[in-house]
Subunit: 389 residues, 2 copies
């Protein structure tokens, strides 16, 4: 196991009715701004519950945070924060609203051009407004980590930052708020956490037996629960389990002491920035191709993953290790497809011209040495995209 430092101070309030608990979590005299997206929180009664709980303690509201939150929108929110002398942010929504709120929190206390936060990945963030979250769309894990991804459309840039100062003070995870989500969002909430785990697990062995097994536990639970939730979308227990899986997949615990990949995410981000694919759709496309191209470097963990998650063993699949690896990747693809996320660029109307465009973007964003061994060069990324056609 590699050395590591782990710290996660976010308080989780999990379960039906927990929105009512937030009043006690926010400092009594705080001037609160409520931050949300397109108004789905008004349809699913989350807005109503927040008002009931906090009432006139909410000084200000900022709505209109987009999926893939826009830099320009967030800058407007920062202006409003300053004008209204806000000292606590309450995010209500999914990963985009929470990511956006993290950026608002950091930018509101940042000296200089907020864009620099993204250019430096957050290393220059020295403080942030405190904030809490009410999660209504589980997928990204943002509710229990200190990372954020922000979009700047005019530059076709999707940039990330992270800072110790950007952990939520608390996050409410009430599975009932997810019961009304459209199927596409349920798909995203299955595929995105699955790939988050893979990025921290499917690399090379470092003797971290417990870390491997914890990662496999989350994968097994997603694979067990995902299909049932799609078939029975009003089932609270299944939604509760998926919601907790999504949080556990990216709260920092699984990466402790192990190498991490993240090349699938970096390539996928460019597909979203260029063509507007959902984040999870890009992952479903890039991951299988990525595993095929890099199967030699990932051989040992691929075989372990296949055996422990999909039951692919020498007994079940006689033949060469390469044949077993292909069977393992096919099973992973089949899972994504069954969850509603097709795995080929062609499924989203993209062809070889997209490959050149993505490579150009990766080059512009200096994504030229990705993966756990920094050996995913532009040439390797091109092979991956070609394998995903």
């Amino acid at each position: 196991m590699n050395n590591f430092s782990y710290h996660n101070p976010t308080r989780i309030l999990f379960g039906d009715g927990q929105i009512a608990a937030i009043a006690a979590e926010i400092p009594e005299l705080a001037r609160i701004m409520l931050v949300y997206g397109g108004g789905s929180i008004k349809r699913n009664h989350v807005y109503e519950q927040i008002q009931e709980t906090l009432g006139e303690r909410i000084v200000s509201e900022f709505s209109g945070i987009e999926a893939n939150p826009e830099y320009s929108t967030l800058c407007k929110a920062v202006t409003q924060v300053k004008a209204d002398k806000i000292d606590f942010l309450l995010a209500a929504g999914g990963g985009s609203v929470i990511d956006g709120t993290k950026f608002i929190a950091a930018a509101a206390q940042f000296n200089g051009e907020p864009w620099d936060i993204l250019l430096q990945g957050g290393r220059n963030v020295t403080s942030a407004l405190p904030f809490g979250c009410i999660l209504t769309l589980p997928a990204t894990g943002s509710e229990m980590n200190a990372g954020s991804v922000v979009n700047r459309s005019e530059m076709k840039a999707k940039m990330s930052f992270g800072s110790e100062h950007c952990f939520p003070q608390f996050s409410v995870l009430d599975p009932t708020t997810t019961l009304t989500l459209p199927e596409r969002q349920l798909t995203n909430g299955i595929v995105d956490p699955f790939v988050h785990v893979i990025e921290q697990y499917l690399t090379y062995p470092v003797g971290a037996d417990l870390q491997d097994r914890l990662a496999e536990a989350v994968l097994q639970s997603i694979v067990e629960t995902g299909p049932k939730a799609l078939a029975d979308p009003q089932n609270y227990e299944l939604r509760a389990n998926l919601m907790w899986c999504a949080t556990m997949a990216l709260n920092g615990l699984l990466r402790n002491g192990v190498p991490q990949d993240w090349s699938t995410h970096m390539i996928g981000h460019e597909l979203t920035a260029l063509y507007g694919l959902d984040h999870a759709q890009t992952l479903a496309v890039v991951l299988p191709a990525n595993l095929r191209v890099r199967k030699d470097a990932k051989r040992e963990k691929l075989l372990q993953f296949g055996e422990r998650l999909w039951g692919v063993t020498e007994t079940s699949h006689p033949g060469s290790a390469d044949e077993r690896i292909e069977a393992i990747i096919v099973k992973t693809e089949e899972f994504f497809i069954a969850m509603g996320a097709p795995t080929r660029l062609a499924d989203y109307g993209l062809d070889e011209s997209a490959v050149d465009a993505v490579i150009k973007q990766l080059e512009q964003h200096n994504m030229v040495a990705l993966g756990e061994k920094k050996d995913v060069t532009l040439d390797v990324s091109r092979q991956i995209l070609m394998a995903a056609l």
Copy 2:
């Protein structure tokens, strides 16, 4: 899954050489007291490393914290804390030193008789001195939770308390500090975490699939790593894995949203208080008997545990479910015995007279309704002890 609230702000610094990192974690002007046990930290160079890192920042030392830390000893430490105007405690040792330091931290800021903290289980603790830990004996998980167990020999009492104010600020987990431990402590570091997981897992199903699988991941890793570490005690990777298993077993994560038992611990505490058995030894004795006596209430989880941990299935063990459950309990006993912890009272020179004595203690300490359904009455506890003879 049941509703839950989860919060764990302790920072973990894991790996070889991490003691050097503590200087940056303690406020610069803090008046530090170093708290430790019988001096093993001087033999294993931990004391030396602390001195190198903190030098003259250590204002005061308090040594002599016993295994099962004594109330009277801890009260002496509190007096010294006040005399030396200490505002940061640094615990170096195992669960007893850390548990003791938590009590010192709470008692130093407590108005009234410190014994009241234990009588009220910590509900009356409103603040505590900040403290950090250097863990040298992994087993109890105290390094990443807010609970503590304190002994008061003259009353033959082993009492526990917990408080949100008693999380360590940081804990260093350097596996090299465990390489010189005697085999008995390695045994304890395998059996104790195993049973910690069981107390939070082996109850009844509540649809918490991920929580079950996370618990099973820790159990699987202990079962995989424990025998290897006993056979190869100088192996860093194996010790690192066991160390992290022990922390993960009791940092609050596994109990989220599920019922908990803890009757094995409560009965075991009395065996330690009366006869001085190691904590882990008491668990190895009480757990198998407890499972036999309460197998009907725990039937579903016992069968799941047996299948996922020990591979006991209808195929491997044709016959009745009761026969499979007995096979599962036998495998658990065999594991404890192989790890060096015999599973019968007789193995520790105790006979039926111990049963009466323990029951009397449980009655005195009001431990009359234990377990996940509060149905472990004194009569059930007696059956358990009789089954453990």
